[in-house]
């Protein structure tokens, strides 16, 4: 049997926002499913808000919200408002609270024009925003967001990120977020966990993660002459491996890309032979740093 998550151990303070980062198949969605009670771990213990999520206690479920970017809890052929009204009753929200929250959500997420339209007639962005509204309408303590901005335009992403940050600051909403759009994580989360093949590779604050990633630069080595580039690059690769124990994160025709620690730049520079290669060094942004990190792990 294949274990999709191993040695996972972490906790989250109330009112914090934790982002899960990882390549496809890293176990992010499985972890979210375990945390919100959809899946039961084969071993270990999970406590969320003091409950065992796998028991799906009603009191626990009333305190959480869960948005899955690819799925919907709204009734496809009915107006959005009908779904919201129905869930109001399921969650036992009073009429006054419902009206107040709905007004706030409609304004913050720009939903005024979609409330009375059938879900099937909404764009993806509108649907996801309605899904978020549905999952925040009962004022949960904790919300799970699994790829909430997949396929959304920049405006919709901005509205969602802004509103989540507002809820966190004002009402102390705790957030678990997975997203392949690292902008979501950067904008909403103060803590991050990086998963790789079911194991935690990083667990700390976003500041720590940024500091760690800033220590590296991207180094692109390109051959000057097109003839015999394979042999030339192979020779360079061997030299890098021998002196720095570094492998390229990507190899294209006539080009090698490395992620190198800034402290090693001088040493690496000495390996270059003028006239044979050109060298480009650039600082990595957060997204590229993470991509390079994933690439380096993939080659392990």
């Amino acid at each position: 049997m294949h274990a999709c998550l191993t040695d996972i151990n972490f906790s989250l303070r109330p009112g914090s926002a934790l982002g899960f980062i990882g390549p496809n198949g890293a176990g992010k969605s499985s972890l979210i499913k375990i945390l919100c009670g959809i899946q039961k771990p084969t071993s270990g213990s999970v406590r969320v808000l003091g409950f065992d999520p796998s028991k799906r206690d009603r009191q626990f479920l009333k305190q959480i919200g869960a948005v899955f970017g690819h799925k919907t809890s709204l009734w496809w052929d009915l107006p959005v408002k009908t779904s919201l009204d129905t869930y109001r009753k399921i969650y036992g929200v009073s009429n006054i609270d419902y009206s107040e929250r709905l007004s706030e959500l409609v304004e913050a997420l720009n939903l005024a024009n979609v409330l009375n339209r059938p879900v099937r007639n909404l764009s993806l962005g509108e649907r996801v925003k309605c899904e978020l509204a549905l999952n925040l309408m009962h004022a949960p303590t904790l919300i799970f967001l699994d790829e909430p901005t997949v396929g959304l335009d920049v405006t919709s992403k901005y509205e969602i990120r802004k509103y989540l940050n507002y809820k966190r600051k004002v009402e102390g909403l705790s957030i678990f977020l997975t997203s392949h759009d690292l902008g979501d994580i950067e904008s909403c989360c103060e803590e991050a966990i990086i998963l790789d093949r079911g194991r935690i590779r990083f667990d700390g604050s976003m500041r720590e993660l940024n500091d760690e990633l800033k220590d590296t630069v991207q180094l692109t080595v390109t051959t000057v002459a097109q003839e015999q580039y394979e042999a030339v690059l192979e020779k360079f690769k061997q030299k890098m491996q021998a002196s720095q124990q570094l492998d390229p994160v990507s190899e294209a025709n006539e080009q090698l890309v490395y992620v190198v620690s800034t402290s090693k730049i001088t040493t690496v520079y000495e390996l270059f032979e003028p006239g044979i290669y050109t060298l480009e060094i650039k600082a990595l942004d957060f997204e590229n740093s993470v991509v390079n990190l994933f690439n380096s792990w993939a080659s392990e």
């Binding site: 999709c4 499985s30 959809i38 479920l61 009333k62 869960a66 799925k71 919907t72």
Partner: protein
């Protein structure tokens, strides 16, 4: 949908039954055919066709199957609602429209027949057995957790309702060797059982149907609970 149901799913089968049984009774000598007179036979088919539409778990099986196949169950599992109850209320809502023909039949029989025991028992048994029909349908729909598509379950459900439920042939017309199976299977309860009570109401038949309901309800509800738990574990094993 209602017109399709009334014209195609109900009207045409009734017309075929009408033609077949008129032909059969014309060629038979009085007393030769067991069970019902020709008029009772017409009424029986009106009842079972109406009951067949009322107690129909087709949509239930389709919905559960789609939820499983498309991974939509997750949206239900994180909400404070029971998946079984959710489908039960949807099922009740869907069936409520098809209760009208049953009321019309019962009222007609009440005013033109020998009394109100049959019609009231018919309505009571129909509503009671709606619950049984739901849990039988839900139990069958759970097969979607193990199968790729629901076609086979739906075909199975349609065949069982038609044949062993008594839509095609009343209980008294089956060979003696098969009769016990036809008499005590759960599909009889929500198809031919109420119709039999409407035509020939009796304390013995009422008690038989009620006891049958209790036994099957306990068994099938228990099976539903067990298989639902197994199914959820199986569903949970799907990652990504």
């Amino acid at each position: 949908m209602l017109i399709t149901d009334l014209v195609i799913a109900t009207g045409i089968p009734f017309f075929i039954q009408f033609a077949v049984w008129t032909f059969v009774y014309e060629g038979a000598r009085a007393g030769e055919l067991p069970g019902y007179s020709l008029d009772e036979m017409y009424l029986y088919y009106i009842c079972v066709l109406a009951l067949g539409r009322f107690n129909n778990a087709y949509d239930l099986v389709m919905d559960v199957s789609e939820h499983v196949r498309q991974g939509q169950l997750e949206s239900f599992f994180v909400k404070p609602l029971s998946y079984l109850s959710y489908h039960f209320y949807i099922f009740l809502g869907g069936a409520s429209l098809y209760f009208i023909p049953l009321v019309v039949i019962a009222v007609y029989m009440g005013f033109t027949g020998t009394g109100w025991v049959g019609p009231l028992g018919f309505l009571g048994l129909s509503v009671l057995n709606l619950v049984l029909c739901f849990i039988v349908g839900f139990l069958m729909s759970l097969a979607a957790f193990w199968l790729t598509k629901s076609d086979m379950i739906i075909s199975f459900q349609v065949v069982l309702s038609s044949v062993v439920g008594g839509t095609l042939l009343p209980l008294s017309y089956w060979p003696e060797t098969i009769k016990p199976f036809m008499q005590y299977n759960p599909f009889r309860l929500f198809i031919s059982g109420p119709a039999e009570f409407l035509l020939r109401p009796s304390m013995a038949l009422g008690v038989e149907l009620l006891l049958l309901f209790i036994v099957w309800f306990v068994l099938i509800y228990g099976a539903c609970s067990i298989f639902y738990k197994l199914a959820c574990v199986r569903y949970s094993s799907v990652g990504g």
